[in-house]
Structure formats: C-alpha cells, structure tokens
C-alpha cells in the first residue's frame, strides 16, 4: 500500500519531514517558517561532545525538538514513541500505514543505501518519513527530504537504520506521527513575535562565562582555531577545520549554517506581521551568511593550498570574530524590533 503523499525536497531533513507531513494534513507552511517558528537557529561549539574524535559544531538546536515545538504552537495533536523491540516497532509502523498515517522516523545516516558513500557518517539524527509498504518484496517507500524523489528501502535496511547504535543520540526506533490537526491555521503574527524573542534569547542571553553556546560560541570558536594551529599537528588542525566546514555546509543547512534560511523566515515574517524592519534585518543576516561562506572558503584554502592564495589561521579567526560581533548586534536589534 502507498499513502498518497506529496514529496517535496527540503534543505534540512527534520524541517522537511515536518513540512511534508503538515501539508499532507492540509496545513500549508514553508520550510523557513517551520524553522523560524520553532526557533531553530543556534550556534554552539562543544569540545566535550566528539564526532570522530573532534569537537562538534552545530548551527541549530538539538535534533528532535523542532517537531514538538511547531506542533505545540500550531495546536496539532501528535504521538511519538520509542520501541525497545524491532518487531513491535515494525508492527506499529505497519499498523500506522494501513490506517493511512505517514510516520516520521529518526534514523542513523550511515547505512542509508541511497546516500553517497562520502556523505555517510555515524550520525543518528536523520529524519525520514515512511509513507508506504510493498507487501510482496518487503520494501518500504520513504520520503527523505534530502532526496529529490521518493525512495524505497528494504525492511532489513530500515530496521538497521532505525536501530543504529552509538553516536550522541541513541534512537531505539523513535517515531512520530500526527493525530489531529486544528480546523484552521492559528494567527501566525503573535507566534512569530514570540518565536523571534525566544530565538534571540537562545543566542544572546548567556553570560560571558558560558562560552560554548549562542554567539559566545562563535567567539570561542575563533579562539579555538588559533589554539588548534599552536597545539596540534598541521594535519589534525586541518581535519578540525574540515569538520567545522562540513557541519556548516553539509548537513542540509540551506547554506551558511541556516543563516540564509533564517533570512527567508524573516522576509516571510515581515509580510505577515507588517514589521518593516524585519526586511532590513533579513538583509543583515544574509550578509552574515555571506561571511560564514567566506570563512568556509578561506578554511578550504588553508587545508588545500592553492597558488597565489595564502590564508592563515589568523585570517580565519578574524573572520569569525567579525561574525561574532555582527551576530551579537543582529540579535540585539532583532529583539528590539519585535
């Protein structure tokens, strides 16, 4: 059986699943709107959490919270569950599908067969939406926002990715679905105001001694970059840089670590709330995004030298410092604008 489900690719997996699922139930809302409303923009550089032995840098909030935030806001009733046993997880999934309900699943990325080998790593926070099952050959049809079309995946593969081990987040078959949607969309303007306020709080409220999170984290990263050069072998320092660039651009951020996506949200928000200033602030975050890309470009020139270009770790640190100052100003202004 297959649920009639419109698949649209999106920049980020979790937003994409939410957007596609809400649209399936008749709530049409864009990806940047989902991202902004659930105040997803963030920054942190965490040397105490490691991925392949290197510090994790993230440009958004923790995986899994967007769905609960957005559905709560819009008044959508949802269900979510984890299953210790494979069998019960798959049986529950089949039951949902026969009742015509698409189910979002949190999966590990490494064993997804349609991912390019180079893109795979042991990251257990990828989101897909299961929308159908072929009884004959036991394959499942899924809508992965990172893929351009629907893909099918065998039952063994699906079990394997739903029970991927290790990483920062054990998933044990986590799944979520929508039970009931409100008759009409709530008024978005006050919700947008509230979300922007919350996002600003997450970015700027930290006192100076909490150095890993919010805009403080950018400052911390700019200092760390210099430390890497001094204390590590050139190879190791380059690998650390490469990891930051990968986090910034690779994992479906819509470019520049979600900064562009947030710009798109602010433009939409300006239209809905009628606050003109949000448009100019959208331009500002676009410029900050360009700076992030500039950082990525220069970083790539540091770990892969080209003739005639000679960037140093000091240059990278300077760019990050500029980003830090501009983002701090940006969020202060944004907080005052709404």
């Amino acid at each position: 059986m297959e649920i009639k489900f419109e698949h649209k690719p999106a920049a980020h997996c979790e937003n994409g699943v939410i957007v596609n699922m809400l649209r399936h139930y008749g709530l049409d809302i864009s990806e940047p709107m989902v991202f902004g409303l659930s105040y997803g923009l963030f920054f942190s550089h965490m040397p105490f959490l490691k991925l392949s032995g290197m510090a994790i840098t993230t440009f958004r909030t923790f995986p899994g919270v967007l769905f609960s935030r957005i559905t709560k806001m819009l008044g959508v009733k949802t269900g979510r569950r984890r299953y210790l046993s494979h069998k019960r997880a798959m049986a529950a999934l089949d039951r949902h599908l026969t009742e015509g309900r698409p189910v979002g699943c949190v999966v590990g990325m490494y064993y997804l067969p349609y991912m390019p080998l180079e893109y795979r790593f042991h990251f257990n926070g990828h989101n897909i939406c299961v929308i159908g099952k072929n009884e004959q050959d036991e394959t499942y049809l899924i809508s992965d926002p990172n893929a351009l079309e629907k893909v099918s995946i065998s039952k063994t593969d699906l079990i394997k990715v739903r029970y991927a081990k290790g990483g920062s987040y054990p998933i044990v078959g986590q799944s979520y679905w929508i039970k009931e949607v409100p008759q009409k969309m709530p008024d978005l303007a006050p919700l947008i105001r509230k979300s922007i306020k919350k996002n600003c709080w997450f970015m700027t409220s930290q006192p100076r001694w909490i150095k890993y999170f919010g805009v403080n984290g950018i400052k911390y990263l700019s200092e760390s970059v210099l430390k890497w050069e001094k204390t590590m072998t050139p190879r190791r320092a380059a690998l650390n840089l490469a990891q930051v660039v990968r986090m910034l651009e690779e994992i479906g951020t819509g470019g520049a670590g979600f900064r562009y996506m947030y710009g798109a949200f602010l433009q939409e928000a300006a239209k809905i709330t009628g606050i003109e200033q949000l448009n100019s602030l959208a331009n500002e975050i676009t410029e900050i995004g360009d700076l992030w890309r500039d950082f990525a470009y220069k970083a790539s020139r540091v770990f892969k030298k080209r003739q005639g270009e000679n960037y140093t770790y000091q240059d990278l640190s300077d760019v990050l410092n500029v980003i830090y100052i501009r983002e701090r100003n940006f969020f202060t202004q944004l907080n005052n604008a709404v």
């Binding site: 999106a10 893929a147 190879r235 690998l239 490469a242």
Partner: protein
C-alpha cells in the same frame, strides 16, 4: 548569496538522488530555494576526511602484512567505527575487541563471533576472513 551564485559543483552526489537545497536571494531581493549540486569547498573538506580514513586503512594493511593487525581492525577503520561503536553493535566487550584487533587472537575466532562482526560491518564472513584488497 544570490541565486546565480549558488554553487553547482557536481562531485559526490553524481549518480545519487540526494541533493542540497540552498536558500538564495533573487534579483528582487526575495528569498527562494534552489537545488544545488554541491560546492567544491565542501567537497574538499570531505576529501580531507576521506584521505584520513584511507591513510589509516593503508597503515593497518601494512600491519596486517607484518602479521600484527587483524582484518577486523581494517574493516572497522574502513567503516569509520571505533572500538566503542563496534562494541555497541556486536555486544562484544571492548577489551575483547581490542584483542581481536590482533591477528593472533583473530585467527582463533569461532564462526559465531565472526558472524557477529560481519553483520555489524555489513560484509560477509568470507570477506572478513580473507585478505583485504
């Protein structure tokens, strides 16, 4: 970033269904989403990471030739799995896995344990026990 500046450097997603979506500003200053084939900067970051894994594998291969390291260590490195992750997948304690990374212990393993490892690494037992290419 402007729509016309969205990088379209096809490399690793060639032949795959997976693509990036980038948000960019069109000529009127409005944001739209654009499908992107990839960006060289990102590909270079990936290259570096892949190189690191490849070098590690080569180094292990040499130790296999010398008779110290085992195939298990090679395939674990190839799958970017460290000992703790492998331990979680197989249920075999870490200290035992550390032993099985040595050829002396690996060559004595029974078929049950080999099957566990092969399953976790998604290869056949034959591949696991024969010399890596």
């Amino acid at each position: 970033m402007r729509v016309e500046d969205v990088p379209q450097d096809l490399k690793y997603t060639d032949g795959y269904i997976v693509r990036d979506i980038a948000y960019a500003v069109d000529s009127d200053g409005h944001y739209t989403s654009v499908v992107s084939d990839g960006w060289n900067v990102k590909a270079e970051a990936l290259d570096l990471t892949m190189d690191e894994i490849r070098e590690k594998c080569d180094e292990i291969k040499q130790r296999i030739e010398a008779g110290t390291a085992s195939n298990l260590e090679y395939y674990a490195a190839k799958n970017i799995m460290d000992i703790s992750l492998l331990s979680k997948y197989t249920g075999i304690p870490k200290w035992k896995i550390r032993r099985h990374f040595k050829q002396k212990f690996f060559s004595r393993l029974d078929s049950g344990t080999l099957a566990k490892y092969a399953d976790a690494l998604r290869i056949t037992v034959d591949t696991l026990t024969s010399k890596p290419e």
